[in-house]
């Protein structure tokens, strides 16, 4: 055990963890909107809209995240037309490519979580709103969405942790996040176990925090 290496690499890995957290939080926020949008489309009675939303979530849940990042980072740059548009400012940055891939990926899973949450809302609750004379728009925003969010908290907590692990793939497109820096230190020092313990410890600590925050929120917003 090389304890000196562990102590020396700790600050480097910790500052890389900040990048991991940035990637995670930005993609989660965007992914939540994407997920909500597609969950609403899934509830639509129009079969084409419905199938479109289902296809989106099927494709993004059925393929590895690595493929999605590579298509966006290496693949989209190949289209000449895209290079001449404003979008290229974003797509030439590996950081934004990773975020787009993460957001689309977590959006697909979030849409499934929210959809099943919407479907488990008891019809009686909506009927109660209607009989009070509340407009359907307000029923949706003030009754259905809050209940769906509460219902989906446990599953969404898992999704946040899975996504945090997913951000490690950013290291494959040259971003020096926690895994990227860990890999760099391993490949220069050839001490994989020491670096794994420190980097893995930081990841576990973040998992622990996320887990407890979600638990706290679950308790706070529980029905009884």
């Amino acid at each position: 055990m090389d304890f000196e290496l562990m102590i020396n690499s700790f600050p480097k890995l910790l500052s890389a963890a900040v990048i991991t957290l940035k990637l995670l939080s930005v993609s989660l926020v965007i992914g939540l909107f994407i997920g909500l949008f597609f969950a609403i489309l899934r509830l639509n009675k129009n079969i084409f809209i419905n199938k479109f939303a289902y296809g989106y979530s099927y494709i993004f849940r059925g393929t590895p995240l690595l493929v999605q990042i590579f298509i966006i980072y290496f693949g989209l740059g190949q289209i000449e037309y895209l290079r001449s548009t404003v979008l290229w400012v974003i797509l030439k940055e590996p950081y934004w490519c990773a975020i787009i891939a993460f957001a689309l990926n977590t959006g697909a899973y979030t849409s499934e979580i929210l959809r099943s949450a919407f479907q488990t809302i008891k019809p009686g609750i909506i009927e109660a709103g209607q009989s009070l004379g509340i407009s359907s728009k307000i029923i949706f925003y003030k009754i259905q969405i809050p209940i769906a969010i509460r219902q989906s908290l446990p599953a969404y907590g898992n999704e946040i942790i899975l996504m945090m692990k997913g951000t490690s793939l950013a290291s494959t497109v040259t971003i020096m996040d926690l895994t990227g820096v860990a890999k760099y230190i391993i490949s220069t020092t050839f001490k994989p176990i020491e670096v794994f313990i420190v980097a893995g410890g930081i990841y576990l600590f973040m998992t622990f925090i996320i887990h407890n925050v979600i638990k706290f929120l679950e308790k706070k917003y529980s029905f009884n």
């Binding site: 690595l66 391993i186 176990i193 990841y203 622990f208």
Partner: protein, 230 residues
Amino acid sequence: MELLAFGDTGWGDELFYATLMTIAVSITAMIIGFSFAAIFTPLKLSKNKLLNLIANSYTTVIRGVPELLVIYLFFFGGTGAVMFVASIFGYNEYIEINAFITGAFAIGIISGAYSTEVFRGAVMSIDKGQFEAAKVLGLSKFVQFYKIILPQVLRLAIPNLSNVWQITLKDTSLISVTGLVEIMRQSYIAAGSTRDPLFFYSFAAVLYLLLTFVSMKLINRLEVKYSRGY
């Protein structure tokens, strides 16, 4: 389309073999994962606190740390560990471990953590009366487990194990970083030499979709088979 031709002119046969490789790694990893689950599920259900702690740290660490980091640990650490063990037995030459074994083992350990959780949940949801009835009938421990408990556990576990299979299948794409030529690595090579990454990565995505689709169909059949009588 000519990019996908079989033979020397296209990448069809290479991608076909790469797909077989992905399937082989996934199945091997899944089997390794089941072996881990077979060890750690009893530990999780045991009344001994120490055994519980061991099993819980395994599942917590593996499920809380990115797959890629675990793969790097095995990729860079595997050779060292094997050489250390070999040196105890007096063998000091350089040993290179096959990328297939390293990769399947790394993914297997990850898959095992998820399988352990699935089996634990399935065993716990079996009615206590089943264990008692088996005991009362005077069946041997072996028969109790294989004929009474295991079939029920499998029935409850298969839907969740199909999720574990999907996760495992997708995780094998990460082994490409170690150089094992599976779908992802082959697409990377093809994309590099034809300068057409969009086509090859999209095709890789299609291959993965096909694999998940077909395996879901097969697992559904298994599910029907194991839930007959319910």
